[in-house]
């Protein structure tokens, strides 16, 4: 229970944040007067040196290995690696190949929405430890059954177009290695149409969650294009006004090593932290969402402005909206595949390497992801650079801790700790991914 009579300092230390991919520690210290003395996010995931050991490897190892950066979002890592390689080799993939990659990306994002709402984030707002606890309550067992059914569908779709749901197999430089089994299209379409009905229940579930009042609006960054909901091939757009071709990102987005934290801090303008990911995509590409996704966002949450105003907790609503959108877009892609697939694109020869450098920027479920590969004339990697969404997020999460701090004075340690956890989980930190911002204190 909160101690309301004598206010005392708040000391929150979370040594290993649960329901988050990888290992994160958080520390927040606020004195009795509400002055924040210390705030820190520490990703203590051990470094694995992808950018180090890739040097000297063959080009065909590079994207295959990069899949292993993250088990949850292996699809965007593979696709980004493949597309960076294509840029370097000056290869243009065929239309159908691009469409199948898009399907893979969408299926992965679709599955991730469900994981976030029901498995990683949802338990917080129902006052339980895990999705297992939600299932253990007979009153909510059906909620879990539906969630698991929808999650399986997302996984089955990744499996359908790439051969495996974790670490996809069939995506290759310049081609797909195999076409999906056409006999699976019709049953998947039926399940997707059913999932579209369920998507409204997902939205209702999210709308019913009692999230904390805390909110803080910061600039949002996402890839954007006019002709569709962008996951790749677009410009980086920000709510602060700029829209740039991705390879110019470092003119607008800076990073520096900050002594206080030892993390790389990503900023725009004069040290302004920002957010990427679902909220950014929904706000910046609202007009590109499917009609039903827009309808959902308007019906339950009013419109794009609400998502920006109510960050970071609006992230779960953004997941629901993206669930609807990805379901809709996958239905339309499967309808196209049903009409016929072109065998010629898988018959293409293995890529021929050439000296060059390729840069690509894509949207992983958690937001902006950059890949740079540089190869010599034999196709051996000379340089690799990977910047993940979580790397972008550490700065802003620390800022959130700082702003949240004063409101925690007077709370019990347990309640204050919970508030910090809730805010941190909005970021969906992916520490396996963030090879760039490992912070290890001496």
């Amino acid at each position: 229970m909160s101690n309301v009579t004598t206010k005392k300092e708040v000391n929150v230390f979370i040594d290993y944040l649960a329901r988050c991919e990888g290992e994160t520690a958080l520390r927040l210290n606020v004195d009795a007067d509400g002055e924040v003395r210390h705030y820190e996010v520490k990703l203590f995931e051990p470094p694995r040196f992808f950018e180090g050991f890739l040097v000297g490897r063959k080009w065909y190892d590079a994207y295959e290995v990069c899949s292993r950066i993250c088990g949850i979002c292996s699809v965007p890592h593979v696709i980004s690696g493949v597309e960076a390689t294509e840029k370097a080799f000056d290869i243009k993939p065929g239309k159908q190949t691009v469409m199948l990659r898009k399907l893979a990306n969408l299926s992965e994002l679709n599955m991730n929405c469900i994981v976030r709402i029901y498995i990683l984030g949802g338990p917080d707002f129902l006052g339980v430890n895990s999705v297992m606890d939600i299932a253990a309550n007979p009153a909510t067992l059906d909620v879990v059954k539906m969630a698991l059914k929808l999650k399986r569908l997302g996984n089955d779709l990744t499996d359908f177009c790439t051969g495996r749901e974790t670490h996809p197999v069939g995506i290759d430089v310049g081609r797909m290695l195999k076409l999906p089994d056409k006999h699976k299209i019709e049953p998947l379409l039926e399940r997707l149409k059913e999932a579209k009905e369920d998507a409204w229940k997902v939205a209702e579930f999210v709308a019913s969650l009692k999230v904390p009042a805390y909110k803080r609006r910061v600039p949002l960054l996402a890839i954007h294009r006019e002709d569709g909901y962008a996951l790749n091939y677009g410009k980086i757009k920000s709510t602060s006004g700029f829209e740039v071709t991705p390879y110019k990102h470092d003119e607008y987005i800076s990073h520096k090593h900050v002594k206080q934290s030892n993390a790389l801090f990503y900023s725009i303008g004069e040290g302004q932290s920002f957010m990427v990911g679902p909220i950014a995509r929904v706000v910046l590409s609202f007009d590109q969402l499917s009609p039903d996704a827009q309808k959902m966002a308007r019906k339950y949450w009013g419109g794009p402005e609400w998502f920006h105003e109510n960050m970071p907790f609006s992230v779960y609503a953004a997941h629901a909206v993206e669930y609807m959108h990805t379901t809709d877009e996958m239905i339309s892609i499967l309808e196209k595949l049903k009409a016929g697939m072109d065998e010629s694109e898988i018959m293409k020869e293995k890529a021929i390497p050439q000296k060059g450098q390729g840069f690509i920027c894509t949207e992983a479920p958690r937001g902006l992801l950059y890949y740079t590969f540089k190869f010599d004339e034999n196709g051996d990697v000379q340089f690799a650079d990977i910047v993940t969404p979580t790397a972008h997020h550490v700065h802003n999460l620390e800022q959130d801790l700082k702003h949240l701090g004063p409101s925690l004075v007077g709370m019990s340690e347990k309640d204050a700790t919970m508030q910090v956890e809730l805010v941190a989980r909005c970021y969906d930190l992916c520490c396996s991914c963030s090879v760039h911002c490992v912070t290890i204190k001496k």
Binding site: C20, R57, N129, L148, K149, R164, G170
Partner: protein, 255 residues
């Protein structure tokens, strides 16, 4: 009988293997009727004190704090299972083993002095005794299920000892090595994956480690005849399972 208490640990890895537990989905609920999750950070905030009946270890040990953690896990778990290639063979974490570590640290981090890492990465049995291995990057869900079910029934799980080639032939695939001159390690790699990669047109890269009667030197000879230079063949063996004795032989056979 009480449900066995399960712990799922993460070491240096991508978290893709522990994800396979969550990917059981509908079966997960049935499974939860038979087991009790005591420690599984990615799935639950609940943390129960050890001892645990079965500990599933995902990831390699790559730095001093992980060495301490794995030794503690060994003490805390009656049965310790290496789950996935990182825990079994070291997987892609071992790629750093073939270059000076200082060079790699400098390449990635602005302040190398903050980085505390071992020069080389290995599977967890480099540090502790391991009771069982579930191979693959990621682990195959059918095999993971087989393992869990057999263990619950106190039977020996059937984990396949034959080569990936066997499963590839059962799938009636054309051979990638013969047809496309692919650098396929299927003939020296343990099966159990259903030959998923070659079935999708991707040559096997040996994530499941060597099969029982692997003959890597003979495969090196075949790759040479196909026209591959030795340094490319060596890198193929020094890949997902490069620190296993058999694959080391393959790499050493290259000049």
């Amino acid at each position: 009988m009480d449900k066995p208490r399960i712990a799922v640990y993460k070491f240096s890895s991508c978290a893709g293997c522990q994800l396979q537990f969550i990917n059981f989905e509908s079966e997960l609920l049935d499974m939860l009727g038979q087991i009790h999750i005591s420690y599984f950070k990615e799935a639950t905030s609940l943390v129960e004190d050890p001892p645990y009946d079965i500990g599933f270890i995902e990831g390699s040990v790559t730095c001093p704090h992980e060495e301490k953690k794995i030794k503690q896990a060994r003490e805390d778990c009656k049965v310790l299972v290496a789950m996935g290639a990182c825990a079994c063979e070291g997987c892609i974490n071992t790629l750093k083993n073939y270059r000076p570590i200082e060079e790699q640290v400098k390449r990635v981090y602005e302040h190398p002095e903050y980085i505390d890492t071992f020069d080389k990465a290995y599977g967890i049995d480099h540090f502790v005794d391991v009771d069982a291995y579930i191979h693959g990057c990621p682990v195959d869900r059918d095999e993971l299920r087989e393992f869990v079910v057999a263990t619950l029934m106190a039977k020996k799980p059937f984990l396949r000892p034959h080569a990936v080639c066997v499963e590839c032939k059962l799938n009636e695939n054309e051979c990638l090595l013969l047809r496309e001159n692919g650098l396929c390690l299927g003939s020296v790699t343990r099966g159990g994956c259903g030959a998923v990669c070659p079935s999708w047109g991707r040559p096997c890269f040996g994530c499941r480690g060597p099969n029982v009667d692997a003959n890597p030197e003979a495969l090196v000879e075949i790759f040479r005849k196909k026209g591959y230079p030795d340094d490319e063949i060596r890198r193929r063996f020094q890949y997902f399972s490069g620190e296993t004795p058999a694959f080391r032989k393959g790499a050493e056979a290259c000049v």
